[in-house]
């Protein structure tokens, strides 16, 4: 029996000819990632192993991005612990404020993940790098500590769901709408312990940023990873960013899938996830009038340059509603600079938005946009759990950059097509 793309990457890293679903393997790691919330716990665990240093100082990435720039004294202490560890062990890929970006946008941009790589990160959205044809998955701090010490991690080989993508998106519809649509269809545990493998002729119509967004939210369907085939779009991105030669794996034609789901991109509408689960989706024509207090555009899910361009195209020449606070978070310093050079910040600021340095802050209710009791936000982030962005009685509605920008102007959740008509 053939193997899926994920299974082939796992087999190669376990130095095995082949693997089958359910098999337990020990695999070599190409990169181990941690941030200012998860790495301090991992550093503490690492100390228990009695190891002098990490397995490879080029294959560990430490990014203080969650509560950074330091939101309070305790957060400052956690970032300091990360900084001290990075200095002591001469970690090559440590990115402090000034170089720091949101980890899952930063690592691909810095060329630290290539096609065919196997990456673990102590952050659930580590699955983002599947956009580049890599196997990457989120783990906890103890796994991160073991990975840093040994360069290896154990895995149970997953089964897979195949998403056969056809067609292309309509106006104002993007990768975020597709992944919310999928999570709405299969549920927050619809791909539990499985791979989500995307393929089909429609994949060529998904930009690399669309693919980052889609793979990023595979975890919101419970998946172990989300992965895209390596094509001309991937190779172009890698050529620009990653010095390593890409290693290209393709699923076998007789690979076994738990299910195959075909989606025609032209049928996907702008989609919004209502509180308090990403699977609680409605299409834009079904949302009704939901008045909002805040809009957040950014994060590891939608802080890429194309996301900012999409939002700017809607906001250009318009003013945001008086009662709405709109916060823009470019995901990395490079994206920040590019958006500035393209004049996007003029558009944002003229329309009444605030532009921030990169941080995960508001996505998890940390800082830089925490909600008060009863407040509602439309956000391009990835989770809308109870209390996710602040008060336990606040609400988060997940949406694309286009819907978020349109909603900022309207003051309620709005269809970008309608806002552009007005």
């Amino acid at each position: 029996m053939g193997m899926t793309m994920t299974q082939k990457i796992l087999a190669h890293h376990a130095k095995l000819e082949s693997v089958r679903a359910g098999q337990l393997i020990m695999a070599d790691l190409d990169m181990v990632l941690g941030n200012d919330i998860t790495a301090p716990v991992a550093i503490n665990e690492f100390g228990k192993f009695g190891k002098d240093t990490v397995f490879n100082k080029d294959k560990v990435a430490l990014v203080p991005d969650h509560f950074s720039p330091n939101k309070d004294i305790k957060a400052a202490e956690q970032c300091k612990a990360l900084r001290c560890f990075a200095r002591k062990h001469e970690i090559t890929n440590y990115f402090d404020v000034g170089q720091m970006g949101i980890e899952h946008a930063l690592l691909p941009e810095k060329g630290l993940v290539g096609a065919g790589d196997l990456v673990i990160g102590a952050d659930s959205h580590t699955c983002t790098y599947g956009a580049l044809g890599a196997f990457s998955t989120g783990v906890g701090s103890t796994d991160m500590a073991c990975g840093m010490a040994t360069g290896q991690a154990w895995f149970k080989v997953p089964t897979a769901i195949k998403f056969n993508i056809t067609g292309s998106f309509g106006l104002h519809v993007s990768g975020k709408d597709l992944i919310l649509h999928i999570i709405g269809m299969i549920g927050v545990d619809g791909a539990l312990y499985q791979s989500m493998e995307f393929s089909g002729e429609g994949v060529k119509n998904l930009s690399i940023d669309d693919r980052f967004t889609i793979a990023n939210m595979a975890i919101e369907a419970g998946a172990k990873n989300g992965i895209f085939p390596v094509d001309a779009i991937t190779l172009e991105y890698l050529k620009e960013h990653c010095p390593k030669d890409p290693v290209v794996y393709e699923a076998d034609s007789d690979a076994e899938y738990e299910q195959v789901i075909t989606i025609d991109l032209s049928t996907v509408k702008s989609t919004v996830s209502f509180p308090h689960l990403p699977s609680n989706t409605r299409t834009i024509d079904e949302v009704g009038e939901i008045r909002i207090d805040q809009v957040v555009i950014g994060s590891c899910t939608n802080g890429h340059i194309s996301d900012l361009r999409e939002a700017a195209a809607i906001l250009k020449g318009k003013k945001i509603a008086k009662h709405v606070r709109t916060l823009i978070f470019p995901a990395t310093q490079e994206i920040w600079k590019q958006a500035m050079h393209e004049g996007l910040f003029d558009i944002f600021i003229d329309s009444g938005c605030a532009v921030s340095t990169p941080t995960c802050g508001p996505c998890l209710g940390g800082h830089m946009g925490v909600l008060a009791e009863g407040e509602r936000a439309v956000s391009t982030t990835n989770r809308n759990f109870v209390g996710r962005m602040g008060h336990v009685k606040s609400e988060v509605y997940l949406a694309s950059p286009a819907v978020a920008a349109a909603s900022a102007i309207a003051g309620y959740i709005a269809d970008p097509a309608k806002v552009m008509e007005e």
């Binding site: 716990v41 228990k48 192993f49 209710g365």
Partner: protein, 165 residues
Amino acid sequence: MQAKGTVFRYGDNVDTDVIIPARYLNTSNHKELASHCMEDIDQDFIKQVKEGDIMVADKNFGCGSSREHAPIAIKESGVSCVIARTFARIFYRNSINIGLPILECPEACDGIKAGDVVSVDFTTGTITNETTGDVFHSEPFPPFMQDLIASGGLAGYIANGGKKV
């Protein structure tokens, strides 16, 4: 290895943001984390939980963030075991890695209510509802995993050369 305690009962999709809200993740102090465990969905939990108590929930327990702080907060609160229909995969891995025993057993979830007294034998996988007398069977932990949990988690287990500390 055994556990026995009073049950706190929860539903589907209990996510790591409600187990330990992110606003408290500016520390990795176990006691401080435990003091906020479950507070966004059950403010009484931390006031009422006693050493040895047991959590029972429905499907996809622990979904969301990879924060190991979630199982740490539960373990530090005194909870001796979590039983659910299914667990989110990162939470499952993290719990075992920090030495918090967790069991998947849909039948037990059907037959256990809040306030019941439940005992668990990890060597046999037997779950007994002492209040009703019903007995359920889950997959027992293999010996290495029992040693790992008894060592307080993976780090202690590895530091000790893969043997019980």
